[in-house]
């Protein structure tokens, strides 16, 4: 096949066309098509779609700030509230702005143990985020592999896995967590296990659902036709295309996990009291709400709220952006 006979068909290619009077138009068209079809990578297209909602961008910025606070808590925080050497019970229950001889000013007050609330919130955030994100990541990994396996191999494996998922999902998360934690006992690791146990099934089901759809897509058939190894088809073709709904679920689940952890801590079966998460800080301060020592519960409550709301805002926009059915 010679280039010249086919020249009109590949007018897209400037190389194939002489720069005569038409060349300008061709270039114009080139740019035109570039503008419409975009020179964007999926990531950039995604980012620009995401940025459409100022609320979501705001949520994201807030979340990043919150996450930074959490990650660098040990650097920024004026006190390490988990280090008992630094606490003084004599500074217990001080109101916000109270000065102290051996510490400085407690900007957000202290709790009964004399913990600086500001530091406690930062470390609490860290704990909450770590538990929320950690459990989500682990659950995601488990759910992803299990769901993919069920979808790709089908048959009895699918049946068994999905039955387990069904049973698990038909039980409310809080019940499972409650029972599990009362069996396992306390501890960050236990909470993590409980949250993973609660969440993995969501991912498994989501992944399986999408994978079943994606599996029937022609690009998978094409990959099979090209005799690509199964592992490659699953991980390079199937898996990345199952991710978008999963990301949405995951974002929302991080928020859920944080809230659930807070609730469990409130019910007294969450993380240990010596390393309080936001939920536990709230629960601790809960008793002080009516007595006017609002700061112990109020500020962690605000922090929790801001965190969850910002994550949910991001998740919401992600859902809209990644939902193929809403984009034409």
């Amino acid at each position: 096949m010679s280039q010249s006979t086919d020249a009109p068909a590949i007018a897209e290619s400037p190389a194939a066309t002489d720069y005569d009077a038409l060349s300008e138009d061709v270039r114009e068209m080139e740019e035109g098509s570039a503008a419409t079809l975009g020179t964007q990578t999926p990531l950039r297209r995604f980012l620009s779609d995401f940025a459409e909602s100022p609320l979501a961008v705001g949520g994201f910025v807030v979340f990043v700030l919150v996450a930074l606070l959490a990650v660098f808590a040990n650097v920024i925080a004026p006190q390490n509230p988990y280090d008992l050497m630094q606490l003084s019970i004599l500074d217990g229950n001080l109101p916000p702005g109270a000065p102290s001889a051996n510490f400085g000013t407690y900007l957000l007050g202290t709790d009964d143990q004399g913990r600086d609330m500001l530091s406690a919130i930062m470390f609490g955030l860290r704990m909450s985020l770590a538990v929320g994100a950690g459990s989500t990541v682990i659950a995601l990994a488990i759910g992803l592999s299990v769901g993919l396996m069920a979808a790709y191999f089908g048959g009895w494996l699918d049946t068994i896995i999905m039955r387990i998922v069904d049973i698990q999902l038909s039980f409310p998360a809080i019940l499972i967590a409650l029972i599990l934690l009362s069996i396992l006992g306390k501890g960050v690791d236990k909470v993590l296990i409980a949250l993973v146990a609660v969440q993995w099934a969501y991912y498994a089901r989501t992944v399986r659902g999408t994978a079943l759809v994606e599996r029937r897509r022609e690009y998978i058939e094409a990959a099979q036709c090209l005799a690509l190894p199964t592992r490659r088809v699953v991980f390079r073709h199937l898996l990345p295309n199952c991710l978008p709904p999963l990301i949405v679920v995951a974002t929302v689940q991080v928020a859920h996990a944080i809230a659930l952890e807070a609730t469990l801590s409130f019910l007294g079966i969450g993380v240990p009291i010596t390393e309080p998460s936001l939920g536990l800080l709230i629960a601790n301060g809960f008793e002080y709400m009516l007595s006017g020592q609002y700061w112990i519960s109020f500020f962690p409550g605000v922090a929790l709220l801001v965190t969850i709301v910002s994550i949910n805002l991001v998740g919401d926009q992600l859902r809209d952006v990644l939902n193929p059915r809403l984009r034409r």
Binding site: M1, P42, L228
Partner: protein, 337 residues
Amino acid sequence: MTAAPLLRLEDVSKRFVKHLDFAEKIANRLGAHIREQVVHAVDHVSFDVGQGEVVGLVGESGCGKSTLGRVVAGIHPQSDGHVYYRDRDVAAVRAGEGAEAKRYALGVQMIFQDPFASLNPRLRVRDIVGEAPRVHGLVDEGSSLDDYVDDVMRRVGLDPAFKRRYPHQFSGGQRQRIGIARALAVKPEFLVCDEAVAALDVSIQAQVLNLFMDLRADLDLTYLFISHDLSVVEHLSDRVVIMYLGRVVEIAPTPDLFAAPNHPYTQALLEQVPRIDGRKKAFTPIKGEIPSPLDPPPGCHFHPRCPHAMDRCRVERPASKPVGAGRLSACHLNDTA
């Protein structure tokens, strides 16, 4: 046509069976009458495709064209019958390992209908085209994969400058070219084109059809060209296979078929294809619609809609019989005539 066919289908069937599950079996014990749902998507089909030939496969929606195409391309195994490629039973070859199996697997490639669904949206064009050659080590020593991909892209009329782009950054026609490039990259001999131009606009469709013809000329490719658009098939193919509800009803060289269709279904089909030169035509439709493949009519599948149906058609499945040079037709009328 060359003597030894490149591909030969012998009595190939493909059934999709929805087996009874545990509960349904119990229900049957209790007196319910739940049957397994069986779709004869492809029902005892035999024909062959010669080296370098273009065979058109025509039929209405759901008649099993794609399924047959997939069987040929090796995506689905057939339930019955044999597929011979270069006179070797494909099932046996595929069961084995190594070069031979790979050669068959790569030798037959498929071009898909939907230019959107058939490309992995998360891969760049370079990877879509280059992945299989790399995995299978098809690229010659010395020349780099990039050059190879550039080559293939140029061949299908795509500017290699675009190879770092993602599929969504291309128009439908360009995407279809990417799909073709992906297939060509593994140096196939046989292309199964499943409605490869159906989703394209007329002007783009013409471009792609031209590309197919050029490739055939340049690379000595053989095509099984699946389409429901008779004019496209007429334009492109040497021979045409007409399917109805999983069965082949007629096979004939293209000019003969369009000049004098034998099977009543073919006749009706040709009659009803709108043509640009058929002005203010009074449409005279055949009655009825295509029956469900789950529950096809007995005998000749076409008899409920056939204007010439006889009693015999209602009970006996007509066999494919020669009705002229290189022509086969499955209709009882040919016996009586």
